[in-house]
Amino acid sequence: MYALDLDRDLAVTTLVQLLEVYTPPGEERRLERTWSRICMALGYNKFWRDEVGNFFASIGRGGRAIYLVSHVDTVPGELRVRVSEGKIYGRGAVDAKSSVASMLLAGHILHNRLQNSMLVVAGLVDEENRGRGAKKLVDEGISADHIIIGEPTNLVGVATSYRGSISIKVRATAKGGHSSAPYMAESALEKILNLWSQVRQEYNGSRYEEITSALTTLHGGDWASRLPDTAEGTINIRFPPPYVSSNILEKLNEYAARYDCRLELLDVTEPVSVNASNPVVKALIRSMLRLGLRPKIVKKTGTSDMNTLYNITTSIAACGPGNSLLAHTEGEFVTVEDLLNAVKIYAGAALELDRLSPADG
């Protein structure tokens, strides 16, 4: 149907340039010069940033809009960038700068190939934190017919479902007291632990379909013989569709009242699940099959910008190079072969979407 040729050195150089700029959440602006340099080298004549700092590049002028969306921030923890034995190492090599590089390269090889669509590559900010970048696109009301999310799915995974997430800060105060007579004293730390015990009992799932909970921070006490009069912790709850945050929050508030704790909602992300027959899923699968790969539908236990961008279009799915088990670890790397295949997958899928009849798309 089509040949998609790509220069190996250009692909490696593009990813290495992105990796060499360390961009934890809040520091994405460091990438500005590199983004411009890459876009010019790849032949993009339009590239820009928006008010929250999201990066964009586009080709084509068609009436439909196909968005290739990933994120340019990484979890904190700088890693040395190197290329060795067909592997590219560095912070973000998996999550998700290899997706960003592949998407930019896909736009490069699609120059003058799209007949009906404009292709926009977006490198969003703050995905590893509060997702400000994705929320900006929804608030702005961008018009996108199809969105491919670039997140690590071991290349051949097509993610159609992500769980939701609730993060809450828990605080407690108590009268404290001497540990020699704890029956006459009161511990703020124990109040939080009692609440946590109840939450853990209620949400003790161990697989995708179940609600899971984790106590992620806990602070309280400063002396071995003194019961703490203040304490605080953080709890993270993950929940699949069809659960919604409101029911869980209602229960958490009930427990907080029972154990005399105060809750502060830090972040809520609703779960997302899309039809496996939607145009983007079909386009990605067909693109992989044309490359001789064996695609599989996956559901993710985490969250991504897809949870937010689903509000723009339901023709959406996530797919990207890199072993998802290496994301956020010290051992992040992606193989050059996966990088090259990802470029072809994205480009092939964009061509499939471009050629859909308006009724299908």
């Binding site: 993610a159 099959l289 539908i297 559901k299 236990t301 998802s324």
Partner: protein, 58 residues
């Protein structure tokens, strides 16, 4: 557009002419996820798709 038999409910399912072996389809009548393939004689057919896999992390 070929019409094939759903291996789950026995109903009929229309598949686009340009379908590729390995492509997935949902049978609207019974909800089954099906994979298009060609049997040993090269005839188009459908089988139940592999179960959806769970993937850790973002």
């Amino acid at each position: 557009m070929p019409e094939l038999e759903c291996p789950v409910c026995g109903g009929r399912l229309q598949i686009p002419e340009d379908s590729l072996p390995g492509e997935l389809f949902e049978h609207q009548d019974c909800g089954a996820n099906l994979e298009y393939f060609q049997d040993e004689k090269g005839r188009p057919a459908l089988k139940v798709a592999e179960e959806v896999a769970e993937d850790w992390g973002q």
